[in-house]
Assembly symmetry: C2
Homo-oligomer: 297 residues x 2
């Protein structure tokens, strides 16, 4: 059923068929549709995606769905922040014209048995510490694409590996849409915006700056002519290790197009890292481009 949220000037769809009907009508009118998949808890990073979509498309669907299949059994599914009414207000203010907010039972009937799996780009980095995470992401995003039928879908570069995995999925399954990667939005002090930043205590919030500082060191080293990904990785590691509460999951310098391991930086490379501060796992990255220009993937 279509349920309009109280006092929110936007139609909220709860089932794929209702969402599809709306999108098909818009397409028939010749309108272009942008889609911004989120798990809610919207921050300025999400809002920058919605703004990008609103600037580039006639209609913008924000999807809000805390997807259980991309959380591991020991992860934060239960405590993940949820506030649909507040999220919808923010989304509308940023330019969303419709919202898709399905319930878990709608998305995953009891005998659900189909997965979309990427088997190359998704295997290292976050895929190693979160074994079924990307399978959950590719599956749910396929479902969201089929429900929303967008011309373009907007994802943040903070989830760099996710962005590459989804680009590959769109190419390999012949999805009729363009994935648009948008720059990381940061707090004034450099911390990459994340819904999980809400978990940080005051001290952890300060300690969390070590991620961005590590990436600064990588960028500086690269600017100074260092091209050995291992050397750069070690410099970042040494820097982050100085923060006692920081537990490094991974720090990797890989090819920026497909995350393959590299011997030396001849083509754009990404320095990607995951660090747990206290109990909160944070990720961040930066792209190093030999032509001195940041590559917009």
């Amino acid at each position: 059923m279509t349920v309009a949220a109280k006092n929110i000037p936007i139609t909220v769809f709860r089932t794929p068929s209702e969402m599809q009907a709306w999108s098909r009508d818009r397409r028939r009118e010749g309108k272009t549709i942008g889609c911004v998949p989120t798990m809610g808890a919207l921050h300025d990073g999400h809002l920058s995606l919605i703004r990008a979509s609103a600037a580039g498309c006639d209609e913008t669907i924000v999807t809000i769905f805390v997807n259980p299949t991309q959380f591991g059994p020991d992860e934060d599914l239960g405590k993940y922040p949820r506030d649909e009414a507040s999220d919808l207000k923010l989304a509308v203010a940023a330019g969303a014209t419709s919202a898709y907010c399905p319930a878990v039972e709608v998305m995953y009937p009891e005998n659900s048995s189909v997965h979309v799996v990427e088997v190359n780009i998704s295997t290292g980095l976050c895929g190693e510490s979160r074994p079924f995470h990307f399978r959950g992401v590719t599956t749910v995003v396929s479902k969201l694409f089929n429900a929303c039928l967008p011309d373009r879908a907007y994802f943040g570069m903070k989830d760099y590996q996710q962005l590459l995995v989804l680009r590959r999925m769109v190419r390999d399954l012949d999805f009729l849409l363009e994935i648009v990667g948008c720059p990381i939005v940061r707090e004034p002090d450099g911390l990459a915006m994340s819904s999980r930043n809400k978990y940080l205590t005051d001290k952890a919030r300060v300690d969390a700056l070590c991620l961005r500082k590590g990436l600064d060191i990588a960028e500086q080293a690269f600017e100074n002519g260092i091209r050995d990904p291992k050397v750069i990785g070690e410099m970042v590691r040494d820097s982050i290790k100085q923060v006692e509460s920081a537990e490094i999951d991974y720090i990797e310098c890989r090819d920026a197009e497909d995350l393959s391991e590299i011997e030396t930086i001849e083509n754009p490379a990404v320095v990607a890292l995951a660090v747990t501060i206290g109990k909160t796992r944070l990720i961040d990255n930066t792209v190093l481009s030999p032509d001195k220009e940041r590559k917009d993937v």
Copy 2:
């Protein structure tokens, strides 16, 4: 590039983007689109699907693609019959209005890395003897759906397990289309039509009738009140075993909705079998419905 086959009054599309552009134009005109995925070597079974689509939809796309990823390493990919020009003539005569015939390199670029996987219905029966077969089917059909954007897709009930797997896929990935299952088309003597029947020698062609005879015995037993799937299965097995050249892969009597194992036939059940005659593996099935009516899945 769009390449019109010589002397064939139909446009043949070779890439997903060209196929999509055509389908989007038709959709914008308000036309409904039927899709009939095939591996070519069209026989009356395929043509019945094309006719069903032509009767129910404004436009009918036949797809012809011998999909390598659904063949096992020791299977018949190399010798699978191919004759595009002749197939297109037959398809047009049956009512196809457009064709999608991509090359293997177009469908699977060298670093392809995304699969669509069904993990329940696809595991027994043919899934057991052909381990990656259904993964190949669900992946390629997802791609065909995204290229053709059909309202309905037509599949034969001869590939009964495939039909159920694809129905589940459409449901679980929220594809915006209806899967239509069409009755098995048989030769006058009862052999189910299959492109692989071409492989049969004269003697094997006669021996191959044991599949349909086995199913007749199952239907007769069911009509006589037998409700134990094991007993029915054994009766079919005893019958087929009398043909010396017949090597039974499986004979199963399962729930007709999800292929789960059953103790007794209370709801519609399918008797499905795979038998190799000489070197040719053939499949066939029949649905037993306690309400005496064949169930149209």
